[in-house]
């Protein structure tokens, strides 16, 4: 054997494209690549092993986020003792194998292959948008192509026209080399299967759906195909317009709770494109239409970049400088304090802001305002998660990392629609489902996961809205009465007294599927089969969303799921767990940062003397020991004339919170409403001070995603407002008499780490070194904690809690016979403030009401008709869409457009423990509208 050198695996640059995915094996094999010895996991391709040692074999159809395909025939190698020239991408390494990647024979073969490609490719490199960023161009150079014997006028592709239907990318078939990377990316990475290869042989071509334009096809515009394309065939329009990027900055997406890592690619201060980071812990190189493409709002003409003030909400806004705005706001708040007391003012933090920005707001409220009247928009989404998981497991967070789903054998999705709301995680989940995991869907709506290409839920529990707890109790009843409890896990890990009480309760006949079928609408046998599938799987995992939390029993439901996971031993290892899919990018972080009125940072109650003393000491101020008001309490008090001033960070409560009329009345009653946001939103109609916020592209700080992963948000461009948001907050605090003289966002994180045991090891330096960490990150876990509760629960023993089903007060009646449930769709985000200001509106220009055909027919409503929809809280109008995704008796809509006024009709019913609004159940009636709206 001619080994001349052994390669050090620590030298591998995993950020480069290694050609094929890594192999998972404990068995290592030793191979020699051009004489360099390297040890790789069994199953590793020759191409990958070669790339690891720096011997990059020419390739076109291979890339390391797709399975090897072996079609381009460029990556041929010679292997000692073997005949022929096998493709290195499809040839696995074997012990002792000696590979040659550069020989005269290979050079000749590769040139021949490249000649064929180039003979049917336009020679417009100098004017091509991919010039300098084209793998075909690179490979032509790599193989030393100098002539093309077959001419340059290929007959099959050069005359093809461009498909420019998608707002974000073009498809230029004339440049296509039919490597199938786009098709495979759509299938393997995204899991949508919108693309295929139509035709045969030299006439083969990429086809969206049935040779439709991209926009009309099943394509979800995730951009995986664009990223995979080695030529300019699929090309971002922004690159066509602006040119190839010249610099890169790693940062984190500001949309959903998946928290994808991106590389922002720029020319100067202008973003050219966002490329998902292959090394991103949350997304592993994938993204969705929002993260990859919908960032244009940061430069939208509606951005307000100058502070605004006005004496009353009837006045016009007056643009002022920061000093005047801060002084104006502080004077008003101080005057309210003097007249009405410290309890008359408060603040709301935002899940769209960084941990550091949230931290300084809650600190300002507690230290400068002098009360605990701080709450967060998580109040209206995942506050029951915080309550329920803390009661049962001991900490207010999900138990797993996203990668854990790859080890799950039975996946239960409850009240979540991941393909729309958490699309990048959904792709990961769908990959596991295609590999054979069982799927249980619990949802009133037949979401995409119930049935879509290559995905079908084995068990679909189409329950009636408002009956989650009854369904979970019935599932647990089956587990308890059919011998499916993991007795060893319970005995070792859980509190025995609480388990006994729960077991007695859940075994009652009234909790059986048969007894509850009339309540839930789920047939007993269907439910029993689902319960057995979850409990019998080696690894059972629960994923849930706002369809769990936004109910009058949201907290009870979270505890019911935790009970089920503990009873079946599905906690504390890969592939299991109870996993909240957080709505906004920093819901977890904003909750972690002490945004709730009863807790300091790290979920420690304000009445805990030891904790409060610690904060008082570091902050240099005496702190209150009594809980402050939640958002609904603040609004009620405002209407009562007792609460007078509020600081609202990055949230549009006049659109997002329920019972809009009541929210508006409360805001109108206040003497000082301060809104900090990117745009003049619905809430700003009632504001006296508008402090311009910064987009995620301007922020410096951290976001914490749904898997507790703390990711760096780095400034891609300079702040358009002249200040960071945390600087504006600190300025107001100082003007209120409490200085917060931080010099940087990193300094704020250092204080968070000082005061928070679960963050003790976190710093910007550590995040820059590791990329990201999942809390707890401290002396015991210096690199973070991907899986929680491994050896014991945070609270010690897992606590079972009985979960009696209590029906909501909101029931269908003769006057309001339909049940409305609300949600979100893929292309839009929350109140739409960002996505409505991007080209995503082509997919969703307005909110519509989905209604079952039978309900529509009974009311004389046809598809596309304008309808009036009324509840006991109010009424609004929108178009109807006939849909079979929902059962008769249920209607569904979104709340992305303020003109729809969806939350005019939602009520102030809320979760009993946390006051999270019951968005998912509103009794309504609809009728055709006599008035049409353009």
């Amino acid at each position: 054997m001619n080994m001349v050198q052994q390669f050090d695996p620590a030298q591998v640059d995993f950020s480069q494209d290694l050609g094929t995915p890594g192999a998972r094996s404990d068995v290592m094999v030793n191979v020699f690549i051009d004489g360099i010895g390297v040890s790789v996991p069994e199953g590793t391709s020759v191409m990958r092993a070669a790339a690891m040692v720096g011997a990059n074999i020419p390739k076109l159809c291979a890339t390391d986020n797709l399975e090897a395909f072996g079609s381009c025939r460029l990556c041929l190698v010679e292997i000692e003792g073997r005949p022929g020239t096998p493709a290195s991408c499809t040839t696995p390494c074997q012990e002792g194998m000696s590979v040659h990647t550069q020989t005269a024979r290979l050079d000749k073969l590769r040139k021949g292959v490249m000649e064929l490609y180039i003979s049917d490719h336009p020679l417009d490199c100098l004017t091509c948008p991919a010039n300098g960023d084209c793998e075909l161009q690179d490979m032509a150079g790599a193989v030393g192509l100098r002539t093309v014997r077959y001419g340059m006028e290929g007959e099959n592709h050069l005359q093809k026209g461009k498909d420019e239907s998608n707002p974000y990318f073009t498809f230029d078939a004339s440049k296509c080399i039919v490597c199938s990377r786009c098709v495979r990316a759509c299938s393997e990475v995204q899991g949508t299967f919108a693309l295929t290869i139509a035709g045969r042989g030299f006439g083969s071509e990429v086809s969206p759906s049935e040779q439709q334009p991209f926009l009309e096809s099943e394509c979800v515009s995730c951009g995986a195909c664009v990223q995979a394309c080695p030529t300019a065939t699929l090309q971002e329009k922004s690159v066509i317009d602006l040119g190839v990027p010249s610099r890169k900055v790693k940062t984190t997406c500001a949309y959903c709770g998946v928290g994808c890592s991106f590389v922002a690619e720029l020319r100067g201060d202008e973003v050219v494109r966002m490329v998902p980071d292959k090394q991103g812990g949350a997304n592993a190189g994938h993204s969705c239409v929002k993260g990859r493409f919908a960032w244009g709002y940061a430069q939208h003409q509606d951005r307000v970049t100058t502070p605004l003030i006005r004496d009353s909400i009837q006045d016009e806004w007056r643009a002022v400088d920061w000093d005047e705005a801060i002084t104006f706001a502080a004077d008003r708040l101080k005057a309210i304090k003097r007249t009405h007391g410290v309890d008359a003012i408060g603040g709301i933090t935002s899940s769209r802001c960084t941990n550091e920005e949230v931290y300084v707001v809650q600190k300002m409220v507690r230290a400068a305002f002098g009360s605990n009247n701080v709450d967060t928009c998580a109040r209206v989404c995942h506050s029951p998660t915080g309550y329920g998981l803390k009661q049962t497991f001991g900490t207010s967070a999900g138990t797993q990392d996203f990668a854990s789903v790859e080890q799950a054998d039975a996946i239960m999705v409850i009240g979540a629609n991941p393909t729309d709301a958490h699309p990048v995680f959904a792709s990961r989940m769908k990959r596991r489902l295609r590999a054979g995991a069982d799927l249980i869907v619990v949802d009133p709506r037949s979401i995409d996961l119930v049935r879509s290409p290559h995905i079908q839920a084995e068990h679909y529990l189409q329950l009636l809205p408002g009956t989650n707890v009854a369904v979970l109790n019935a599932i647990s009843h089956v587990v308890a009465t059919e011998g499916l409890i993991d007795e060893a896990f319970v005995a070792e890990r859980c509190n025995k007294t609480s388990f006994k009480a729960w077991l007695d309760f859940i075994s009652l006949p009234e909790n059986s599927p048969e007894a509850l079928a009339g309540t839930t609408g789920v047939e007993a046998e269907t439910l029993r089969a689902a319960a057995r599938a979850y409990a019998s799987a080696d690894n059972g995992a629960i994923y849930y969303g706002l369809g769990v939390t936004e109910h009058s029993q949201g907290s009870t439901m979270v505890m019911a799921m935790a009970n089920l996971a503990m009873a079946t031993g599905n906690i504390g290892r890969l592939g299991v767990g109870v996993n909240p899919l957080r709505g906004q990018n920093n819901v977890q972080g904003s909750c972690d940062m002490g945004s709730f009125p009863h807790e300091f940072v790290g979920y420690r109650h304000v009445s805990d003397d030891t904790v409060r003393d610690q904060f008082s000491s570091v902050w240099g101020v005496t702190l209150r020991e009594d809980p402050g008001m939640r958002i609904p309490n603040m609004l009620d008090s405002a209407v009562a004339g007792e609460f007078k001033g509020i600081y609202i960070q990055g949230e549009d409560i006049a659109q997002s919170d329920p019972n809009t009329h009541h929210v508006a009345e409360a805001l109108r009653a206040m003497e000082c409403v301060i809104v900090q946001d990117l745009f003049l939103n619905e809430t700003s109609h009632f504001a006296h001070v508008f402090l311009p916020g910064t987009s995620f592209l301007e922020k410096d700080g951290t976001f914490t995603n749904a898997e507790r992963r703390i990711n760096r948000v780095r400034p891609v461009m300079t702040s358009r407002t002249g200040l960071s948001e945390w600087e504006a907050t600190c300025a107001l605090s100082e003007a209120m008499g409490y200085p917060m003289p931080y010099q940087s966002a990193g300094e704020i994180m250092d204080e968070i780490a000082q005061l928070t045991p679960t963050f003790a090891g976190v710093s910007f330096d550590l995040l820059d070194e590791l990329g990201s960490v999942q809390w707890p990150c401290n002396e015991q876990a210096p690199s973070g904690t991907p899986i929680m509760h491994k050896d014991q629960f945070v609270r010690g023993e897992g606590q079972f809690i009985t979960t009696p089903y209590v029906p909501t007060d909101e029931r269908s009646t003769r006057k309001f016979p339909l049940l409305l449930t609300t949600g979100r769709i893929l292309s839009q985000y929350n109140v739409g403030a960002q996505t409505r200001r991007t080209n995503n509106v082509v997919w969703h220009a307005e909110d519509v009401l989905d209604i079952h055909e039978a309900d529509a027919e009974a009311r004389g409503v046809k598809d596309g008709d304008w309808i009036e929809i009324a509840s006991r809280a109010g009424q609004t109008r929108m178009r109807a869409r006939i849909s079979d995704d929902i059962p008769a008796g249920v209607v569904y809509t979104t709340f992305h457009h303020p003109v729809s006024g969806t939350n005019v009709i939602t009520t102030d019913n809320s979760d009993w423990a946390t006051n999270c609004p019951e968005y998912k159940v509103t009794a309504v009636e609809i009728r055709p509208s006599t008035e049409q709206r353009a």
């Binding site: 009445s607 609904p632 009993w912």
Partner: protein, 71 residues
């Protein structure tokens, strides 16, 4: 005719009765209600609730009255 202050009181009544109906462990409900109020309600809200219990006692569940008496 209701007033602005009534709305707040009505909401507190609804909240506390809902807490009493939903606290998970059905043993010693008053103690659980009491603990919940201590943990999550402001002193002012608790004081308003005591006023409600005095002025309109029939609006509150019996468990809520027990909870208030036991504090």
């Amino acid at each position: 005719m209701s007033t602005a202050g009534d709305y707040k009181r009505e909401h507190l009544i609804k909240m506390v009765n809902q807490i009493a109906s939903n606290v998970p462990t059905r043993e010693d409900i008053p103690a659980q209600v009491s603990a919940h109020l201590r943990q999550f309600w402001t002193p002012e809200m608790q004081e308003t609730l005591r006023q409600i219990a005095t002025e309109t006692p029939d609006r509150l569940n019996e468990e809520v009255h027990h909870a208030l008496r036991s504090r």
